[in-house]
């Protein structure tokens, strides 16, 4: 079973290839969109590469849930994620740091849930149970 460090190395290489970034930019705390410049289509590419790199299947929406804000009208109110929205996120993205979002639940901060650390803990859970 791969260690977190080994998982991180593969994730780092994956992101270097998919996003054309340097290895020193891919830190555990880096956000995929804000720091590494990923766009929506890159998530598909990243998914392909992870599946190949780890020889696993990642069902659609499991690692990168889609349409988070538009899924439910009670999710966002006045530009902020509601408590029920936060609860939904905790359920859908148990591998993400939802606590941090809960501190400042502005809708634009949802993108910051997608970090390198989130990917590593998702894969750790997936590979090591």
């Amino acid at each position: 079973m791969p260690t977190q460090d080994e998982i991180f190395k593969v994730v780092q290489e994956t992101l270097e290839d998919a996003l054309g970034v340097d290895d020193d930019e891919v830190t555990m705390d880096a956000t995929l969109q804000g720091d590494l410049g990923a766009e929506s289509i890159d998530f598909l590419d990243i998914l392909f590469r992870l599946e190949k790199g780890f020889d696993i299947k990642i069902p659609r929406g499991e690692l990168f849930p889609e349409n988070l804000a538009s899924a439910d009208s009670s999710f966002v109110q006045d530009g902020k994620v509601t408590e029920s929205g936060i609860a939904q996120l905790r359920e859908k993205m148990p591998h993400a740091d939802v606590d941090k979002l809960a501190e400042n639940p502005a809708v634009e901060n949802i993108a910051d849930l997608f970090t390198v650390r989130m990917m590593v803990s998702f894969l750790d859970q997936k590979l090591n149970g």
């Binding site: 290839d17 998919a18 054309g20 289509i41 890159d42 598909l44 590419d45 998914l47 392909f48 599946e51 190949k52 659609r60």
Partner: protein, 162 residues
């Protein structure tokens, strides 16, 4: 102008690889501006030709159930160029294929000379999606006419058609 950047397929193995030819001609309008006095096939159009080769390979794998669109070119390197009279041979190999899309690795050669190599990611769209109407059809890597090109190049037994 029709948005066809391959002339025909010369080899096609379903779900595995495809080879297509693009004959570069001085009768193509853009060759006179790119560049005056030194005509070379624009590299962007070579990418389009590679994407059409790979996109049809991917589309055919799923019996053209999805609209296949070029989503991203994560890697491309140009080693050389092609001039009028050259036959560019585009080879695309399917690396990955799933419901959401697929990836191909491809090369462009003139004879033995490697002109370009690239990796291309495609996304699948459901053709029955009503929002698709707004998308410019030119961007799709295949259309009924491109399928016609496939017919020309595909020999019934999978052998190269001369």
């Amino acid at each position: 102008m029709r948005w066809f950047w391959i002339d025909r397929f010369i080899e096609f193995e379903s779900g595995s690889y495809a080879k297509a030819v693009k004959n570069v001609s001085l009768s193509e309008e853009h060759m006179h501006d790119h560049f005056p006095g030194f005509s070379v096939m624009p590299s962007s159009l070579m990418i389009e030709g590679l994407a059409q080769t790979g996109g049809i390979l991917l589309g055919e794998k799923n019996d053209f159930k999805y609209a296949v669109i070029l989503a991203k070119v994560p890697k491309v390197t140009f080693h050389s160029w092609a001039t009028p009279g050259d036959s560019l041979v585009y080879t695309a190999r399917l690396l990955d294929e799933r419901d959401e899309g697929g990836t191909v690795e491809c090369t462009a050669h003139v004879g033995e000379r490697l002109v370009a190599e690239a990796e291309i990611v495609f996304a699948h769209l459901d053709p029955s999606d009503p929002t698709l109407g707004a998308i410019d059809q030119k961007n799709f890597v295949f259309s009924m006419n491109l399928l016609g090109i496939l017919e020309v190049g595909k020999a019934g037994d999978g052998a190269e058609k001369l």
